[in-house]
Amino acid sequence: MGNAYAGQVLRVNLTKGDWEVEELDMDLAERFIGGRGIGGKILFDEVDPNVDPLGPDNKLIFATGPLTGTGAPTGCRYMVVAKSPLTGTIGYANSGGYFGAELKYAGYDVIIFEGKSEKPVYLSIDDDEIELKPASHLWGKTTTETDALIKAELEDQWRAGDTRIACIGPAGEKLVRIAAIMTENSAAARTGLAAVMGSKNLKAIAVRGTKGLRVADGESFRGKVLELVDVFRDHPAYGQEGTMHVYGTAAGMALGNVAGALPTRNFSGGVFEAAEAELDPQVMKDTTTVRPKGCFACPIACKRISKTTAPGFEGHGEGPEFETLCLLGICCGVNNLQAIIKAGFICNEMGLDTISTGVTIACAMELYERGFLTEAEAGFKLNFGNAEALVALTRKIGLREGFGDILAEGAYRMAEKYGHPEVFIGAKKMEMPAHHARGLQGMGLGYATSNRGACHNSAMMSSAEFPAIGTGTITEGKPQLVKTNQELMAVIDSCGLCAFAPGVLMPEGILLLFNTATGLNFEWEDLMLAGERIWNQERLFNLKAGFTKADDTVSRRMLEEPLPDGPAEGNVLRLDEMLPEYYRLRGWDENGIPSEAKLAALGLD
């Protein structure tokens, strides 16, 4: 056992049904940190970027970070990496919950799945005891059913209670391109990696670990955690009385509306009439929230356990997140809170990305409203605001049933099928999250240049552009800000921390936790350089996969149609003002290709 790292990589060959345990290459760890960094590097080294994402030659990598499971605040995350069946780029999806920590306690930083199993299987890990078990009886089961059934197979309730499961639902099995890998209602949601898992006939991973982890300097590490927990406890957003703890991520709703940055009716506008009424987070708190829930080692606890009681939408589960409310709700013009939450529950059960699912349904609604799609084809009167259709279609997407089979391909492929690809809103074929690219120029640049398509977390520009309303429409300085934030988020994602961690930990907390846990003696610049290395490594994968400068863009609506409402009214995304400078700052040529000097400086030559 090393420090902070578990020190082992588990490589599973699903075609042969065997596995081997390898030592974690510590040189690799120092250069790529962990999680997204190590996962991306393994993918680049071992997978041809032109591989069929849903074929046996793609690999599916689960990678934790060095701070995952150490007790560092928010240190719970794991990253899933594979070539994406949605975008064709490198795909990565991050999840909280308890799975990542448990995997490390069992002794593994990374699992690499290769090949394809002949029959459905799940991987069982109990410290050193590893087994591929039959999963035909789990095939077709929802994610919570799968979780319960696997736990029921274990010999006692205590063992079951300690076992953490990451699995796919029906959506992943049916190769839905917007499917999410779930662990106890936390989702590794984006880029459709559950479909890669489904293509390998891998239903789930169940893990229990009793080995624990070693940190290099326990006393200093504990002292720093204690100091940070005190900051979290009284923090206006993250503390016990803080908005994120009290309301969950939905706390951002009013801010999004005031900024005019909401994805109203397939991103045709930026404000939504119900955002500060039916969809106000206080309404949610008073009517549907059962209690807050925290991921492993999280002092914030922004997750919600919720219950819906409205006739036709009864349910129990987790969520909704801000993104879920916005995309399943506002993007579809739906103001019925309980219907949105119900649709979110269904996404969790089916294993679907709520962002992509919402945008895809919204895209179908726009096609319908503009007469490009008929009621006969859709099976519904698909007008914006139709809550019943939202809930019914969500389930149909997960099951690839009827019209849902077409939506299961994602918004881009659906819109193209009906002859109107311009109705798709996103980047690199991935659906856009709930932050407008027109009022928030940096966010737009982030979407255009993200290595996995339209992603709000790759540059986390919401925290930079939301609080200061008025600066969102400015392009000046944004290329540098986006570049820096992209590298910071690569560090966060690779350490195993949450996207909300920087708000309290930056930068001294992250550095101290990293150094005292790993025993490495990094400067902040070393971590950020690793972030830049990770970003460029991902870029190289995409370039090899055939992506070019032409793909560093977003849907035409963002670039050509002025925002009709809100404080950013009249704005379009002025990408051409920012992209050349962004390339220059990155040390890339005018075609977005990294220079030899840059690659040499990053050790990627």
Binding site: G71, L213, R214, A216, G218, L226, V229, R291, G294, C298
Partner: protein, 124 residues
């Protein structure tokens, strides 16, 4: 008398207390399975349980307890390190674990790391 007050209503299930306990008792090791506090989940409720006495015999009576409509197997919320439970024991050798309030005077680290307010220190 110093006590740890546990409020199930506030626990968010983040298990941070388990990492605090193991790190403070084992110096450089974080391992919830060796922690003297464990958080168990029952329905929508998270139940922090702090290791109490060791017993070498299983209970001869079994209880179910209903609190606010939620039924608990009493073993789930019992503090004992006992033969029927693998918790509150060293995973490798079965040596029982018991909360020691992190020494004298009491300074329990689980309470210090608990951001939700589920664990507090009180005098009574």
């Amino acid at each position: 008398m110093t006590r740890i007050r546990i409020d199930y209503g506030k626990c968010t299930g983040c298990h941070h207390c388990e990492t605090a306990c193991s790190l403070s008792h084992l110096e450089n090791i974080v391992n919830p399975k060796r922690s003297r506090i464990r958080v168990f989940t029952k329905g929508d409720t998270f139940c922090p349980v702090i290791a109490g006495p060791f017993t070498d015999a299983e209970c001869t009576s079994k209880l179910s307890v209903i609190i606010d409509g939620q039924e608990y197997d009493e073993c789930t919320i019992c503090r004992a390190s006992c033969p029927v439970k693998p918790v509150f024991k060293e995973p490798d050798n079965g040596i029982p674990l018991k909360c020691d309030m992190c020494g004298e005077p009491p300074n329990p680290q689980c309470v210090k790391w608990c951001a939700s307010g589920a664990l507090t220190l009180i005098e009574s």
